[in-house]
Each structure stands twice: as C-alpha cells, then as structure tokens.
C-alpha cells in the first residue's frame, strides 16, 4: 500500500494531454473490464475538476518507474563493505538509506540480516505493504493470495518453489509488514567476492534476495 507523498507541488500547467497512447494499443493495453473503463473515467473527471493535473499523474508514474531494486542493491553492497554503515542500517534503516540519497520518510524501514543460522523472508499477509520507496513496486507474486497465505505457514515449501532450499539447521523468520513498517532483507555476502568493488557486489543483489525468497547471486568465475 502506498504511503508516499510527493513533495513536488510545482505545476507545469497547460497540459492538455490525456495520457493516451499514440501508438496503436498493444494487446495488454486493451481494455478488458468495467474497472479499467472506470479507471479512465475517474482520471478524466479528476483532471477536469482540477483535483489533479495530468502532468502530476504522469510525474507519479515516472517517479515509480525511477525507483528500482538497484537502489536497495547499493544499500546492501554498502552494508557488506562498510561495517559502520552496516551498524547504522540495522540501528535506523531510514537514516542509513538517506545517506545514500534514498528518501524513505513516510514508513519505518527495518533491515534484517541473513546469517549462517537464520534466513529472513518478508510478506504482507493483509495487503501489499513493501519498501516501495526503496525497491519500487512489489512484484506480482508478492501481492498474490498464494504467497500471502502460505509463506507464514509453510515458508520452506514456498521458498523451495522459488528454488531456494534453506537447510533444516537454518531458522526461517517470516516478517509480516504493516502500513507503517517495511522490511529489507540483507542477504549473506556470497563466497568468493573478497576482491569485488561495491558496484560489482551490488550487481549480485537481486530484488528477490532483498525480499528473502532467494539468496544473493554467486559471482561469475
């Protein structure tokens, strides 16, 4: 669920663009349901009444598109290489990611660390709460009923469906997100990465490893 506030209130105005695709509609862009039509109708009415501007809607979409899991990957790589940053990240996630220029102000960010004895995985059983200001929009499976229902009851089985086998002697902790609290998993640094630069390490940190359904990628040999 969104807890975002756009602090950018400047108006460019004079925008008569209805955000309609000018290219022929693609198969996925066809309108299938009543709700899709309702969505178009709501957008048109809210723009006509001056509640929002077309440019603002577009800016929100662009903002969403600009936030990707690569932001989180940088945070994890920094935590792997800088012990002082790592300590700050676990003490106060929001302040630590702000050091790297990632603004997360409306929800609390809690970082949890995978270790040889503990594997962490994140869910929002009630909805779709996700650290979207850091990682972008949640993947479709994160919002799915199957994931939300089962990860809290049989996490090892669900992780296996993602191809992640957690050994029996490693504890699995499942974190259920709330509207106010979002989790970032710091995966274990892979073996054989001693000589890698921070940006090379970041490339090993996938979105799925930061949700905890996967581990960080092994470096190429």
């Amino acid at each position: 669920m969104s807890g975002d506030h756009d602090h950018d209130h400047d108006h460019h105005g004079h925008d008569h663009d209805h955000d309609h695709p000018h290219a022929p509609p693609q198969p996925d862009d066809k309108v299938h349901s009543y709700y899709q039509i309702l969505g178009v109708a709501l957008k048109e009415l809210l723009i006509e009444k001056g509640v929002v501007e077309a440019a603002e809607v577009r800016r929100q979409i662009e903002r969403r598109d600009s936030i990707t899991p690569a932001n989180g990957s940088k945070v994890v790589a920094k935590a792997w290489t800088d012990p002082a940053f790592r300590a700050r990240l676990f003490a106060d996630g929001n302040s630590a990611v702000a050091e790297l220029g990632f603004e997360m102000t409306t929800t609390k960010l809690v970082a949890v660390e995978n270790t040889p004895s503990e594997h962490n995985v994140v869910v929002c059983t009630l909805c779709s709460c996700y650290p979207r200001d850091l990682l972008g929009l949640p993947p479709s499976w994160y919002k799915s009923r199957a994931y939300r229902a089962r990860i809290v009851r049989e996490p090892r089985a669900v992780l296996a469906e993602f191809g992640t086998r957690v050994p029996d002697d490693v504890a699995v902790r499942v974190h259920d997100s709330t509207a106010d609290m979002r989790f970032l998993v710091v995966p274990m640094r892979p073996e054989g990465t001693q000589g890698l630069r921070e940006d090379e390490l970041a490339a090993l940190v996938t979105r799925d490893s930061m949700v905890g359904v996967a581990v960080a990628r092994a470096p190429e040999r």
């Binding site: 807890g3 975002d4 899709q36 309702l38 009415l45 603002e56 979409i61 799915s144 229902a149 509207a179």
Partner: protein
C-alpha cells in the same frame, strides 16, 4: 470472523513465482492514486480500510488494481469530490469512445 484480506495461514495453491510487469492501465491507476494521495485527499490507512470493506465477493473476484479502482471511486463519492451520476455518465462515454477506437476488447459489465 476473518475479513477478506486476512489470508495469512490459509491453504492455497502454488505461488506463481515469475513476476509480470504492470500493464499501461495498471500504471495509470497507480499514478492516479499516488497523485490523489499527494494532494492529501486520501491516506494509506483510508485506502487499506476501503479495500478491506469491499467484502468477500468483490475482494476475491477483483484483481489488485481493480480493487484500487473500486475503492478510489467510492472514496471520491464519499468525500464529495465526484457524484455517482457523473461517474456513470463518464463510464458510458468512455465505453463508447473505446469501442469506436477499437481499444475495447470485451463488453465488461458493471458489477
């Protein structure tokens, strides 16, 4: 009794682990909701309460962004921003326009 959103621990089938990207329409709804939220018209907690109030039938039938569209509609009426009549009229107009331009795939019925 569990609300429709309270699915933690319920039996379910396999997880579809391949993420699919958002469609153009889903991005539009996401952006519209974010823009309305940035105006201070609705907040996260109102949004959550609105989705939870959809009821079992609607919650379990609608896709994710369909739920968000349904709740945005209800919120705009409740807050006096839009009326049901003007929404109905605009939905009919949009439907005619999309049919004319070939963008309407099926005649989706109102719930």
């Amino acid at each position: 009794m569990r609300g429709p959103h309270d699915v933690g621990g319920l039996p379910e089938g396999p997880v579809e682990t391949e993420a699919h990207p958002l469609t153009f329409w889903e991005k539009q709804i996401d952006g519209l909701r974010a823009a309305v939220g940035a105006k201070g018209l609705v907040n996260t907690h109102e949004n959550r309460a609105a989705v939870e109030a959809l009821g079992h039938d609607a919650y379990n039938t609608l896709h994710y962004y369909e739920r968000w569209t349904a709740t945005l509609c209800r919120q705009m009426i409740e807050k006096g921003v839009l009326t049901q009549d003007e929404i109905d009229a605009r939905v009919a107009a949009v439907r005619r326009r999309l049919a004319d331009t070939g963008e309407l795939e099926t005649e989706g019925g109102a719930p």
